[in-house]
Amino acid sequence: MSTLGTEENPLLVAIVGSGPSGFYAAEALIKSEVNVKVDTLERLPSPYGLVRSGVAPDHQKLKQVIALYQKTADSPDFNLIANVNVGTDITIEELCQSHHAVIITSGAETDRKLGVPGEDLNGSYTATEFVGWYNGHPDYRDREFDLSHEVAVIIGQGNVAADVSRILAKTVDELKHTDIAQHALDTLAESKIKEIHVIGRRGPAQAKFTPKELREFGELSDCNSIVREEDMLLNSESEAELQEKSNIASKKIYEQFCEFSKREVDPAKSRNCYFNFLMGPKELIGETKLEKIILEKNQLSGEAFKQSARGTGETIELETGILFRSIGYRGVPIAGVPFHESWGTIPNENGRITDNDGNIIPKLYAAGWIKRGPSGIIGTNRACSVETVQCLLEDLEKLADKTNKAGAEEIYSILNKKNIRYVNFDDWKKVDAKEIEVGDPKGKPREKFTYVDEMLSVIDS
């Protein structure tokens, strides 16, 4: 058998997940010196993960990153096997048989829980469900959100909390020329929400929005962004944090909040978005559905940059019928792959998957949120995937196998035996073109197909 990674014996890698991390891993492999064939497996018929179903519809420019992924997908060394669920339709063990290495880039598919009573009441939702719903993700297509209440609460101080709040704050006119799913636009058009409360555990100096995302709240056509002036008073530790030159993003965020706090509320605007600080949920109350939330006031303790929020015992009540929690994501375990239960990630060393005792498991790698947890933005995953691929290429000799690897052919034979319908990149291009065609007369960049069956029938047409 010749050396692995040559023309006669290319390195066969299966990637699980076609989001940014999966595509950056594929790109790094294809651009490497090694002769490689990449087979990317995706659960949905549509690729691109959170760029398609997470990035907000009113952030179209960010979605242009897809052009780069398309370039990778057009490489003869790239192959998409979509509409296949790894773990059930095909196992990790089978992928290890058919390929020299497997990279898991399955992301962080579920939300962290608040851990307070009443969390599962009707009317209390995860940001994931709502984001997936307005972005046309098939898993969340048929969720129903009751927007007939006047007060909505969003728990969290990061960009996902900002996305959810902004979508609720915008008018239909502000959204109708985006690729927001039509069913969501129709429901939002009937929204009765007048007050949006964004609840942050810590203060305005610790909020995790990006400055740019926060600035958008100052430009909403029919919604005031409101911050109480007294909330802008900082303790000396927070002052010190903002003085630190490297902490420029937090300083910009704080200055933006200050600007909001000095604004006159425009009574002509029909919605108000309140940014509340130093508060955490204590209990969600309701008979059959959410009626109100008890919030506990917090104070910060600890030294600068290590301040944590502690409850003061003082509580306030807020009547609300709809709540979204957005306090972080967790990965979902895949059968046959170790999982770190409390972190919600796969244990690994620079991308080499280990068991829970730190022993490296040959052939298995991870990249992206499932590797390092849900932090950073799209580009952060590029550096992360490059690191994983570097480790994989260093391990090349160890990955060489005595038996012949059949790669994609073996996957197809397993899927065919189970009668599983899989979709390739050319199939997806048909769906892509059709979505753009349907969106065009409405002035939308695309109208997404939100059911798997719809996508498959476009492919078959």
């Binding site: 990153v65 740019k212 580009g379 590029r382």
Partner: protein, 101 residues
Amino acid sequence: MTTIVTENCKNCRFTDCVTVCPVACFHYDDEMLYIDPDTCIDCSACIPECPVQAIFEGDDIPEDQEQWIEINAEKAPDLPVCEEQMEPLPGAEERKAALGF
């Protein structure tokens, strides 16, 4: 909105920004990096990476750095793409210290 590299990058060229750019829009010459505005998607991932805070976006661009909007747009397209982190320029650490970082 435009994201640009400004004065502070000159003679530093740390290139930390390049590792997180999702679209490989950084270009380089012997002195510094430039962003190609036609490729950049304004995701702002690069901004916190710069050890000398040379990258600014949209409303955050300081007035005295606005000339860099044109310079980035003019220079970037004809220069090679910087896809991977490079060694900083000789003297970069000294310049960083002189800039107060």
